[in-house]
Symmetry: C2
Amino acid sequence: MERGLESMEAIFNPGSVAVIGASDNPGKLGSHVMRSLIEGRFPGRIYPVNPGKNEILGIKTYPSLSEVPDAIDLSIVVLPAEQVPKIIKECQNKNVKGIVLITAGFKEIEDKRGEILQREIMELANQSGIKIIGPNTFGIVNLHLPLNASFTPEFSLVEKGGISFVSQSGGMSHLMGFLSLQNKVGFSKIIGLGNRCNVDFAEMVEFLTKDSQTRVIAMYIEGIDQPKRLMEVARENSRGKPMLAYKVGRSFTSDKASQFHTGSLAGKHAIYEGALKQAGILMVESSEDLLDAAKALTLCPLPNGNRVAVLSGQAGPGMAACDICEMEGLAVHPFSAKTQKRVEQLLPPLAIRTNPVDMGPAWYDSEAIKGIVQTVLQDENIDAIILCIMFASANRSAVGMLADLLLEKRRNKPVLCCFSAPAGIWDDEIRRLEESGIPNYPTPERAAKTLVNLFRFKKLRN
Amino acid sequence: MERGLESMEAIFNPGSVAVIGASDNPGKLGSHVMRSLIEGRFPGRIYPVNPGKNEILGIKTYPSLSEVPDAIDLSIVVLPAEQVPKIIKECQNKNVKGIVLITAGFKEIEDKRGEILQREIMELANQSGIKIIGPNTFGIVNLHLPLNASFTPEFSLVEKGGISFVSQSGGMSHLMGFLSLQNKVGFSKIIGLGNRCNVDFAEMVEFLTKDSQTRVIAMYIEGIDQPKRLMEVARENSRGKPMLAYKVGRSFTSDKASQFHTGSLAGKHAIYEGALKQAGILMVESSEDLLDAAKALTLCPLPNGNRVAVLSGQAGPGMAACDICEMEGLAVHPFSAKTQKRVEQLLPPLAIRTNPVDMGPAWYDSEAIKGIVQTVLQDENIDAIILCIMFASANRSAVGMLADLLLEKRRNKPVLCCFSAPAGIWDDEIRRLEESGIPNYPTPERAAKTLVNLFRFKKLRN
């Protein structure tokens, strides 16, 4: 195995981890990192390193890395910046394969010494082929091992799934993690690149394209030092795993701020955006859009065209979905004559029976709702379906029945749902649907916006 | 009291309610209405009317309205459409003050008879001055009484608050209710106007401008029959309660659909939108925006200008907020010299100390964070603050400390927060802040978008 790849593999799937700067003082990051490993049920061996302690959180502790009586795959480092070069050398002597360098105080600070220190550790690491995630990162999480190599034990609450998130901001990683808890989205890996001393977007994305537990690669970008390398990697993957990115710096102030934050040239947002799109990366506009689109890309087939059917249990939410679809380039397209005839047979002559269909009058007739959805699933004039039902006591059974139908009929078109209810009512049905490739969203507009993004992605791929 | 107003008052604050078409069969809407009243703890007297029953859900039941031995303030009607004219006459004979007419099958159906029937009941109601909410409505909810006069008992889960929501779609009312549960937003009244036979937006809004429990009036609009009357009412209220609206029909298909759905002329979205704005109504673009903006308008002072400070515990989320602010007309404005100096004293020379401020390096120094927020609160160059902190174990106490500070310092500028954490961690602090006028949002972008809407509303009012 190539040295860099071996190092990355060791970072995400280590058998043994040393925590250099481990602590049991809750005021120190070293204590949070220890809790992340332990509470996150890391299945490998943990070696805290701290010269002043014999034991931390019940685990035998060593005065230095060299005294650890085992080979170390991954070192997590939380010591102050000025001690880091010495630690990197110790890691080299110990043949440590990879490093997560949480410590801040490098290229991101105003003081020139930070940049000098970062160059020093980068050169050290490159000499020996060790990959360093960071410095100035919250860490990394691999929910499949599981490994929580971060200073936030709560990342272990995130569900296991197919999305890997690569982020230039720890804050944005935390936000995405917490949003995923509310939206029941599963992640494979959550990665804070920090100052990217020798692992930048390009290397990380390349690694993830080959990682069997990653199905979709989502990015949060402020600025990129080597945009061409990322474009190359993306183009090489242009028929592979879906890639999408949320880039800030669209406004002047935020663009300027990103230059400070990660010590990288940001700027020229429009140029970046165009280049990333050309490389086949879907660009989205907010943290919610990123999560929503990543979820759909993990679950759904892509639409073959822009013709969408909007089927709703109540007219209003259906109209809200239509608005978004049509304003963003999708067509709420007429059904085939056969489908239209069938819908008219099934629905009483109340209200809207053309696309969008208001299925409200059929609430008490589950066979009618079933028949409508089934016929539209088979309509060759329709590339995708948005299905919205707002709970009312009288339609409680509708979503379970639709779930059975949708899961039974094999389909090659995306179905995006907005089934909205108080907590606890449709949770099981929604989970069943999502596990089988039919995502649910909290509002009709978000379901529609996500379908728009699926269609944009399909166009990028063509 | 004027007759119409008395009728409206009786609808929302009745002492006695008759349910005409009450049932204990869960397949009938009449059973859900009964459950809504009972489970919603309506404090007045409930009289089920059903000729085939002596008792429904433990409550004595009468064969007809005329046999009810009490005066009736509100009748909720769920009988089939063709029986409704007779029922309206019975209500008149009984001196019932107001009606919620849930029954569908009127102007909204393709069959001409629906329109004729609706005209008939409208004329009957107008003769006697009775106000009818509906037909074709899910009902109304007054969370302050409490009264749940709808077919969805779960509306009683919504918290009591200052927003009254007037909607042309029952589906959108349910969506807003369920979103409010997740977002902890309180409502005063949730009102389904249905086919608006003799209560349209104008009458309802006029009533709500005088309702002491309503502080903000939020609307969902498809089409309006008498737009001029609504504009007049809005203009008369132009210094009063904030009013905001989400109007669908921005796209061709949805515009056309709305004509069918509520049997009203929709169309000409741009004209409507301009006219509503001119009348002082804030127009928003999605169900989430409507909820977010209504919440802020209930809680916050308006910004005096467009100069916003973005203070964040991590740089990334702050940049995301800056992007939205600047793209939508707010200025992330330089601090006064005094503020800038103070921020530099408080923060180490790491990263961003100008606006936006990355307070990350001060995580362990709560006095510094406190000092920064306090000095920016007092800066005359700044009209509003967005404050974003993503939870990490190491900053758990930050939000409690900031809550104390924000609540202690009297302020006249809006502070909008995005404090994001797994459920259960900051819930108490966030609740404490929101109860005192500082709203929290799930993402930095939504906090920023809401501030944009507050600023737009301020401009409408000027």
